[in-house]
């Protein structure tokens, strides 16, 4: 029995070594998929000099922020880490946790439905296939889920990419492509594209909104992250994601409850309200979180104003809004 277990163990160790070699060989620079933008975002996070504004959240940030404009208005280097809400809040915070430095301002702008139950192992699989190093940001609970449901597929995708010796055939769907991102981490190639979003209030099932309200575990995670920021001399704030005016009105009670719970976190400061980040339906590109170009600038300005008191309490608000 010992001999058998030893041999099987040795065989698996050999395969693990082969896999690690492939991870090392893996070159994500050729990848064109949307999630591969994570590679550039992490490079910028590493290279940008503090003080920085680090934007953390889902695709509302990727689609809806003009980082160069925000940089110009605030004087801080901006790193837009927003990519997809499906990676889950825990993962998003872990991605930047190690990089937060003195003077940084971490702006969390999380989609309302991502506070709870948004973690999607399939998204993590696609992300790890293009950036295996991101596995380090998975919590132990999520790691188990990802390994069991997606482990084989992740190893398969990394292997196929590592042994492809060139660009990998990928199904990319415009505008969800890596080359659409600028160096700050904003997606810009939907600018000027025709709107394909319509607000349908009936699209959301009754009871689903209950999931918006952050649970205790989520609040505790935010509290811990905020404490870490404080300890390093950084600030941690929440700015609401853009959402259609009709939706904000319709779900006012739920959103009030969400904000109420966030307000209870001592280390997190709320810089605006859902109403401040409510936009007409025409301002959205393809979902109720993805702004089109004119609204992107509008939002950027609103966020710049909202951050004013934290960055520099003496800044004149009219200057921040001058290009509106």
């Amino acid at each position: 029995m010992k001999r058998f277990v030893l041999k099987v163990g040795m065989f698996l160790a050999l395969q693990a070594a082969v896999f690690l070699a492939m991870v090392g060989w893996h070159d994500g620079s050729q990848t064109e998929g949307y999630l591969a933008a994570s590679i550039g975002k992490h490079e910028r996070l590493e290279q940008a000099r503090s003080p920085r504004i680090i934007l953390v959240g889902g695709s509302n940030l990727a689609f809806g922020m003009n980082s160069p404009r925000l940089e110009e208005k605030t004087g801080c280097a901006v790193v837009n880490m927003g990519l997809v809400a499906g990676v889950g809040l825990d993962f998003m915070l872990s991605e930047v946790e190690g990089a937060v430095r003195r003077g940084d301002l971490v702006v969390l702008s999380l989609e309302y439905d991502a506070f709870s139950a948004m973690f999607n192992p399939a998204i993590i699989r696609q992300l790890l296939a293009v950036r295996p190093a991101s596995a380090a940001y998975l919590s132990s609970a999520h790691s188990g889920k990802v390994i069991i449901s997606e482990g084989l597929s992740i190893v398969g995708e990394i292997t196929r990419r590592a042994l492809a010796f060139g660009p990998v055939d990928e199904e990319v769907q415009y505008p969800y492509v890596r080359r659409g991102f600028n160096r700050w981490g904003d997606l810009t190639n939907h600018y000027g594209a025709p709107r394909c979003f319509e607000y349908k209030p009936e699209a959301m099932q009754e009871g689903f909104r209950e999931l918006w309200i952050p649970r205790e575990r989520t609040l505790a995670r935010l509290e811990r992250f905020g404490a870490m920021c404080q300890k390093r001399g950084a600030a941690f704030v929440y700015s609401c994601p853009p959402h259609p005016i009709e939706a904000v009105r319709r779900h006012a009670a739920t959103l009030t409850a969400v904000m109420e719970r966030l307000r209870g976190i001592e280390t997190l400061r709320l810089v605006d309200t859902p109403e401040d980040q409510a936009y007409p339906t025409e301002s959205f590109y393809d979902t109720g979180y993805h702004l089109n170009q004119p609204a992107v600038n509008e939002r950027t300005d609103r966020v710049a104003v909202a951050l004013k008191s934290i960055l520099n309490p003496s800044t004149d608000e009219s200057m921040l809004l001058s290009d509106r």
Binding site: L14, Q15, I148, L152, G156
Partner: protein
């Protein structure tokens, strides 16, 4: 919990460790029963009770047969057991089929019948474990095996997880005695088991899943694809179903070996058969032999002369078709094989057909032209019949037959076929390698190198196979085809 999933490979070492931590036979059997019910519950926990009832029913029938001497009473016990088993199978598998078919029949007579069929979920593996329990009762009735008094042992025999959901359908005479002893781990057995598992995974994840993707596209919308695509998809399906089902059987046998249990061989290179008779001796052997022993022979088998013999043969294949699924496509598929086999017997083509244990094709490396032609002809007939097996309904199957037959009359068909082949060159290359490997190693259970080869060669081969599985494996390994039966 599919064999081709990580959950299974996390589940397996835990059960393995617990199993060999037990020093007593009854403890080992307890681990098997608990693990098997947990494995089954991972599919659908609601049907664990059904499996338990089915097992206890035949366990009880065995005990009653033991205590009954009067033939009439024994016949009643047997009848009750068979009725209950077939009743459960009939209800869960065929209820809607018969109700729907009856409604269509009476509507053809001009009578409108309001049928509100209930949505019945088919319990995974019911066809397999029901046949296994029935074989125990029948063998007990005929006095071929002793009564199993140990309930735990009997439950282990019925629920043994490696072969629970898709066979091989084991006989009590072969499997029950293996649970009646303490199993001690044997190194050689363990290594052979792992080798079988690796080979099974290779067949499933490299070939079956990739072939299945092409087949699903073509058979999903046959009206949208041309005749060459349908023809190629049919050949691909022939290999998909073979690789898929034989992979399951290999993995089942390999895992069973890890637990010191020998399962019977279910496939013996069926596509190298030179007649349909030989094909059925090499394909799904445990089911074919079940029908042979419990239906064909009791009806008189080949001893019954003339028309009775052909009737028996036809009936067995008709039932075999129905066993596969509650659909007219399966019934016709079975009937077609029954007719073709009868014709083969009548024409004397099957005389001298090889048995499963014999090396297929020829003893030499290269088969003679006659053998090659017979193998090709048998494969062609089998392929044609697979259309019925895969098509969603009889109408679609007829359309595919018509489309391919008409297409083959045109010279363009062959040019387009080459283009389709170019498009799928990777899968075709894999298939060619697979057929070549099977041919070269057809004197063994699987082509992976055994201990006779040097350690370096073995490890290199296993590593290459392992990474081919990972590399060519599809994003999601589909469920094994035979789970639906």
């Amino acid at each position: 919990m599919s064999f081709a999933s990580l959950e299974f490979f996390l589940f397996l070492p835990v059960v393995f460790a617990l199993y060999y931590a037990c020093a007593k036979k009854s403890w080992q059997n307890s681990v098997i029963v608990l693990a098997s019910y947990a494995f089954y519950a991972a599919w659908d926990y609601r049907f664990c009770g059904l499996m338990l009832v089915s097992s206890l029913l035949d366990y009880g029938a065995g005990l009653l047969l033991e205590s009954s001497r009067r033939p009439f009473r024994r016949r009643v016990i047997l009848a009750v057991s068979l009725t209950a088993n077939l009743g459960l199978l009939g209800f869960f598998k065929y209820f809607n089929f018969f109700v729907d078919s009856f409604a269509v029949f009476v509507s053809a007579l001009g009578i409108e019948m309001n049928t509100s069929t209930i949505s019945i979920i088919l319990p995974v593996g019911i066809s397999f474990y029901t046949f296994q329990t029935m074989s125990y009762t029948l063998d007990r009735y005929w006095g071929k095996i002793p009564t199993e008094r140990n309930c735990l042992q009997y439950l282990a025999f019925v629920s043994f997880f490696p072969q629970l959901v898709a066979g091989p359908i084991e006989r009590a005479s072969r499997l029950l005695p293996q649970f009646n002893r303490v199993r001690i781990f044997e190194y050689g057995n363990g290594v052979a088991g792992v080798r079988l598992v690796l080979w099974g995974l290779a067949k499933k994840m490299i070939l079956a899943d990739n072939l299945g993707a092409v087949v699903d596209l073509a058979y999903g919308a046959p009206e949208r694809v041309g005749a060459p695509v349908l023809a190629m998809a049919t050949v691909f399906f022939a290999f998909q179903i073979y690789c898929d089902f034989s992979a399951y059987s290999d993995i089942a046998a390999g895992v069973a070996k890890l637990f010191g249990i020998e399962l019977s061989r279910n496939f013996a290179y069926p596509y190298f058969a030179q007649s349909l008779t030989e094909f059925w001796r090499r394909w799904h052997i445990s089911l074919s032999s079940w029908f042979r022993d419990y239906i064909y022979i009791p009806l008189g088998g080949s001893q019954a002369g003339g028309n009775v013999f052909f009737r028996n043969l036809f009936l067995v294949f008709l039932l075999s078709g129905l066993w596969h699924g509650a659909s007219w496509t399966f019934v016709i598929w079975g009937a077609l094989h029954g007719v073709l086999l009868s014709l083969e017997k009548w024409a004397g083509i099957s005389a001298g057909a090889l048995r499963a244990g014999e090396i297929p094709g020829s003893r030499e490396g290269v088969a003679g032209m006659g053998s090659v032609l017979r193998i090709g002809a048998t494969f062609f007939v089998v392929c044609c019949s697979w259309v019925l097996f895969r098509a969603p309904d009889v109408g679609a199957a007829l359309d595919i037959y018509r489309g391919v037959a008409v297409g083959m009359m045109s010279i363009d068909f062959y040019g387009e076929l080459v283009e389709v082949a170019k498009e799928h060159w990777v899968v075709l290359l894999q298939l060619a390698c697979f057929v070549g490997l099977e041919w070269v190693h057809r004197n063994r259970w699987n082509p992976l190198p055994d201990p006779a080869f040097s350690r370096g060669l073995r490890w290199a081969t296993y590593t290459v196979v392992f990474w081919c599985i990972i590399y060519f494996g599809t994003e999601r390994s589909g469920p094994f085809i035979y789970f639906q039966f």
